[in-house]
Assembly symmetry: C2
Homo-oligomer: 332 residues x 2
Amino acid sequence: MERKIAVLGAGSWGTALARLLARKGEHVTLWGRDRDLLEKIRDRHTNAAYLPDVTLPETIFPTDSMDAVASAELVLIVTPSQAVREVATELSSISFQTQPIFVSCSKGIEQGSGLRMTQILQEFLPRNAVAALSGPSHAEEVGREMPTAVVIGSSDIAVAEKLQDVFAGTFFRVYTSTDVAGIELGGALKNIFAIAAGVSDGLGFGDNTKAALVTRSLAELIRLGTALGGRQETFQGLSGIGDLIVTCFSRHSRNRAVGERLGRGEKLAGISKTMTMVAEGVPTALSAMQCAERLGIDAPILEQVHAILYQQRFPQEAMLELLNREQRAEAD
Amino acid sequence: MERKIAVLGAGSWGTALARLLARKGEHVTLWGRDRDLLEKIRDRHTNAAYLPDVTLPETIFPTDSMDAVASAELVLIVTPSQAVREVATELSSISFQTQPIFVSCSKGIEQGSGLRMTQILQEFLPRNAVAALSGPSHAEEVGREMPTAVVIGSSDIAVAEKLQDVFAGTFFRVYTSTDVAGIELGGALKNIFAIAAGVSDGLGFGDNTKAALVTRSLAELIRLGTALGGRQETFQGLSGIGDLIVTCFSRHSRNRAVGERLGRGEKLAGISKTMTMVAEGVPTALSAMQCAERLGIDAPILEQVHAILYQQRFPQEAMLELLNREQRAEAD
C-alpha cells in the first residue's frame, strides 16, 4: 500500500527521512529550492552536499515545484525553522487532492511571534491535522541505519499512531505522544544549550565542566519548556533530555560546533559564512530570549548564549559567570 | 587554620582529592595498602600509576599505617566499594583524638547486604557524622583543575555546609544536600548504565542509539533509586543525571570502557586482568540486581548488563532485546 509522501526541505534531515520512507516502499517527493542540488540528487541518487556517502532509492523524486506535492497525503516540513512561515504560506494556496497530515520535523521557535512550527502550520492550514517529530536523531546516522528512537506527537493520538506506523522500522523506533508543545520545545531549546556546551569545549574545559553545564541546562530547559506549555515528563524523554545530550556531546552536532568555534574566539558572522547548513540554536536563542523575558523566567544559560551571539560578550567571561554563581544547596 | 585530613585510598580519585585539599592548605595523610606505590608518591610527588602527569604538593603525607589517621578530624573513604567494610572495621578500632567526620567518596552498593557506603560506615562508627561526596568528577580532570561541580550530602545540613567550606574552591564547586541515599545511589547505579552505553559503542552503534539508551537509563535509575530511598530531584541533579551522562560519554570512564570491550567481544575475565583500577559497575550490577529482584522493580537495562557480565549473554543479543521492545506511547 504505497503512500504518497512529500518531504519539504532537501537538507541532511529531509534527505535522511525521504530515504527512510522510500526504503519502506512509499512514493516520496523531495522538494527544495535549489534546482541544481535536486538535479544532482535525481541523477546521482545521493545528496553529496548534505548527506554524502549515503545512496538514495530511485523512488525518491526530487522537485523544485511546490505543485508536485498536491497529491501527497502526508507532508513533512523539514526546512530551517525561520523558513516555515513562507513554506506554510505556499502550502495554503495548493489544492490538495486529499486532506494531508502535516508533520513538522523542523526545530525552532519563530522570531517575534514566539510560535512553534506546528502553530504556524495550523495558522495557515487550519483544517488539517498537524504533528511534530523529534528526538535524538542525527541525519548522518539515520542515513546509515543506526538504531534510532524518536517521538511523534499530535493532539489527536490516532494521528500519532498512524504516523508511528508510517515511520517505524527495524532500526527506527517511534514512540507516540500527545504533548506536541513539549516535543517541539525540547527540540528547539536544546540547540541553545548545545551552543553553551560547545563554548565550554572551545574554551578547553573538560567533561566534568560540560556535565555540570548540561545538568543545569536540563533544569533550565524544563523551566522554560513548562512555562511555554510543554509537559515535564516530555522533557525527561527522548525529545528532551535524549536530544539534549546527543546535541551537547556528539561530533555531528552543528550547534555544538558553532559554540566550540565561538569558544575559540571566532565571531558569529565569520562562522555563519562558512556553514552550509543552518545552526538552529542561533535564531532560536533570539526567539527564546524574547519568550523568557516576556514570561519573566530565570534562564542564565540562555542569557549568556544570547549575549555571546548578539551582544559581543566574551565567551570566557560568560562561562565564568555561569560557573561562579553562588554555591548553595543543590535543590535551590 | 590547617585541618588534619586523612584520605583512605591512593587510587586516582583519592589522589586527586588529596591534592585538592593539600593545595587549599590542609594537612593531608594519604593512606593506602601498596607500600611501594606510597613510597614512590612520597619520593616523586606524583602518583604515576593512577594519576600521571599531575604534581602533588609536599604537604601530602603518604602512609600505609592506619594508625597515622588517628589525629584526623576529617576522614575520606575513597577505596573500591567492596573494600569499604574492611576499612570501616579497621577504623572502628582506632582511638581518634577527636570525633572525625567520615565522608564516603566511594561509589557502589555492597553485595549481599545491599548497603550503601555510608550505611556501612555508620554501622561501624555509630557516633560519628557521615557524609557522601558525588557528582561528575573524573579524577584526571580534577587533577588538572578543570572546573568541576559536585554535591556533598549529610542528613545534618550543618555537616554538609562545613564540608562545603572544606572542599570548595575556585575550580571546584560544591553544592549541599540532605539526601545522602539519593547521592550515593546515583553515583553507584550510573556505572551500570555506563557499561550499557559502552556496549553500544563497542557494537558500533552511534550517538542516536546511545542517546536513546541513556534516556531510558535515567528513567530506570530514577525508578531504582527512588525505590531504594533516594529523592527524585537528587537524580535530576549533578550526582544523578550529571554523573550519568559524563560516565556514558567520557573517554575517561572506566565503566564505559569495560562495556566497549564487552561489546567488541572480549570476556569479563580477560578485561579484569588487564585493568589496574576497579570498574565499580561490575560488582554494582550484581548488588543492584539483588535489590531490584527483592523489590520487584522493572529494570531491563540492568538485567541485560547483569546477563552480559554474569550469564554469558552475547552483547549483540542483549542490545537488540533492549532496542526492540514494543513501540508504544512514550509515557508508558
